[in-house]
């Protein structure tokens, strides 16, 4: 059984990775781990409930993956962490993920050129990383 990690942040760009998985992986022997990391910059100090609100919005986005990945065995996880990129790498390692599929940069405008999460993940992940344009 191949284990595929699909990190998403709720943006349309990240959800497009679902299409790549549908086109390139077999439904019979593939398990998809959909991971959302809610970045909490003041982790441990904030009690405003902002992270819970953000989680709800992202959960809606994650539900949208259901239609795309309906034939796959899917496990969804939402985590709150200081750093999304570190969380993705450690999640992949702990769950013995075989491949990570992610978009290069999901932000619009000037932030589009950054792609810092995909760069970090491709550098430190223990498994093959497929970075989609």
């Amino acid at each position: 059984m191949k284990k595929i990690l699909l990190p998403i942040d709720g943006t349309n760009k990240s959800l497009e990775s679902c299409k790549y998985i549908v086109e390139n992986f077999n439904t019979d022997n593939t398990k998809i781990y959909v991971l959302n990391v809610n970045e909490d910059f003041y982790h441990g100090f904030s009690n405003t409930g902002e992270s819970e609100k953000a989680n709800k919005n992202v959960l809606k986005a994650i539900d949208n993956t259901d239609n795309e990945l309906k034939n796959f065995d899917v496990e969804k996880t939402v985590v709150t962490s200081k750093s999304a990129k570190e969380e993705i790498v450690s999640f992949a390692f702990e769950n013995n993920i075989d491949t990570i599929v992610m978009a290069r940069a999901t932000k619009e405008g000037i932030k589009k050129i950054s792609g810092s999460v995909s760069k970090y993940v491709s550098k430190f992940a223990h498994c093959p990383v497929i970075i989609l344009p």
């Binding site: 191949k2 550098k123 093959p128």
Partner: protein, 152 residues
Amino acid sequence: MKKVLLFITKPELDKTSVEFLINNYSSKEVELELVTILNDNYSYVMSQIDKKELIKNTMPVFNKVCSILKDYKINKHVLIGANSAKEAMYFIKENNINDIILTKPNKYDISHNVFISYLVRHSDRTVFVLPKNNFNNFVEGDAEYEKNIIAY
């Protein structure tokens, strides 16, 4: 037909990339672009003779890889430039590459890590970043090809 770019860098890294390519791309579907980039920090100083010698030295490596990938349609390229990452980017744009296959070195190989980071960040193509010889669970290899790869 899909165009796949395979960087020839170091034998231990090339083995992983070649193995991945064989297991994931059929020879009928893809056209391979084998590329090696020679760093020439003083490009204006380097003579034509030096360049020819450098290219000559890379030929045996190319030939070994081509013998393993004999079923594939292959185009070989040697790029010479001061900035290898930028040279690679120009090549990708000019040749309409679809997929790029790269193998990560160990963390102390700083120059190659910088090269990979640049491509991941700036290229608008699908990039496969592989850890060195660590994807046995990902694909089931063809025994004959595996023998050839071990020999290489």
